[in-house]
Subunit: 356 residues, 2 copies
Amino acid sequence: MAQRPRTLDEIDTPAVLIDVDRAGANIKRVQDLADRVGFKLRPHIKTHKLPHFAQLQMAAGAVGITCQKIGEAEVMADAGLTDIFLPYNILGAPKLARLAALHRRITLSVTADSAVTVDGLAEAFGDSGHPLPVLVECDTGLGRCGVQQPSDALVLAQRIDKAGGLSFGGLMTFPADGRSAEAGAWLSEARDLMKAEGLAVARISSGGTPNLRYAGGHAPATEYRPGSYIYLDRYQVSVGAGGLDDCALTVLATVVSRPTATRAILDAGSKALSSDTMGLSEFGELPGIPGALVARLSEEHGIVTLPEGTTLPIGARVRVLPDHACVVSNLFDHVHLISGDRVVDILPVAARGRLG
Amino acid sequence: MAQRPRTLDEIDTPAVLIDVDRAGANIKRVQDLADRVGFKLRPHIKTHKLPHFAQLQMAAGAVGITCQKIGEAEVMADAGLTDIFLPYNILGAPKLARLAALHRRITLSVTADSAVTVDGLAEAFGDSGHPLPVLVECDTGLGRCGVQQPSDALVLAQRIDKAGGLSFGGLMTFPADGRSAEAGAWLSEARDLMKAEGLAVARISSGGTPNLRYAGGHAPATEYRPGSYIYLDRYQVSVGAGGLDDCALTVLATVVSRPTATRAILDAGSKALSSDTMGLSEFGELPGIPGALVARLSEEHGIVTLPEGTTLPIGARVRVLPDHACVVSNLFDHVHLISGDRVVDILPVAARGRLG
């Protein structure tokens, strides 16, 4: 490997840049919101996949972290994180054995949305003297996982409550975009059904950075697990979760071709930016160059459309704001932490590619 | 790590499966086509990113391999591959130094589409007693890199021919879908312009598995660099490049939730299947389950729509045929080589994530 770069100019492309000042400000802004409104913050590490930022989020006041797969939780536990929520249906002997091993060394909680998942957990944890908290996952409109009705949530909560080795931990949802009010009503109904049956609902966990705006409003959530807020991205800006100047992750790229007056080709394609547009019409934009949009991607080329007359020579280095920061973190083995033009550190993306 | 799986049943999910019998048949079928029609085959390794399959492609009769980034070429050279085409504009001192180092140990050729790229190569290779072949990249309709007109190709070829340390290596294009005839006319015109000026066009390189059907027809290409043909995928089947039973790459996944009668959730999301649909309407299909389509993805969940009445219980293991195999190879650290239900090997994806 070449000598470690000290400034932006010395970084070879493509590379992920994380502006630590912006990331730090984003951590503080959302923790301040949580403290002011009175909800617990349990950041999702899928956005950064770095123990470094998980530790900063904890130091700022988070009650724990959220991971989506056991492999991510193992990396974070190895790095010293001690309270991890895994909102996923864990199934099958190999994963249940890994889950039990994690449970012996950290404070762990998981979710379930079916009797099959609950029964598998009960079998794996039945002999444990130390019950595993299991939250019921609720489909409040997203159409992904989750029980379909509040009454189903009650039935599953009772099954968890009665199972050896498990404890009923509460309710969890990921609200559909713009349907936070419906999600709140759903969760309130489920909670009230449970209370009427004498079941305490210790936690109600909600997710999604855009949903933070509703915190303390109609949502009965006691805990949020946003991920994207630390970096933000073009999608988050499009839904008002922050401004362009709050975005902490960009991809540094080089212009490798200028075939026409309105087309520039970057050395960052779908392998660097991903094809995930989150529903936007382009794959990214170049904040430093007005009107420059990443119109198409192939694996190793980003095709940028430029307004007529834009000066952008071959060899120029540009920063691309991607539509979805989380998926970019998963595509690079390392990220460069920067402050202004200075490289302050280069970190391996420790939880990258942890799929199981 | 757990004991190495011997059969499909023992592989934890999600995992990439490569059917070696199908991959071998695909290698043979396309090499046979090349031998019959009389073009040279230089497979693109971006699809598999594995020295193992590059070596099998060479053993079958390929004249060399194609890599898209220097990092990929370095991995392949380290593994013993000795003739590599890098159809990319290589710019900047760090990459030019790596290119020169590669050129000293293997047979290398590259492309350029601008005077800036040619002049940079000439400066880096000027002192070499061993000229680097540079092909001119031509935009024959794709709208990515490449000179725009055959007359521009001539001017750039002359610049390469006169530059110290370089030799003019021929023409290269990636034809737009369905525009092979136009691409052929474009290349023929450029070749004839060069011949008239006394410039020999040693190679004409074309790409794309779907374009192989035109080989020997209107295309003047002497060499093809298809990638996808070794694995094929849902997109390649949609354009007639092979049948479902020829597809060698699938993603093994587990059903983790059955929220409704027509919805199943897999533990393989965009981190496993990628968001790249190649223009198809879904993200994949389940060949073993008629009518089952991957309708939506989030990072760790695949949302499958099922026909009413489909039996697919929680915990079931399914194989997903993705839309685009190449990008799936980039998302996994390892792939499982299988023959029938037997695991014959587990290989690290050696050239994964080589972005620069």
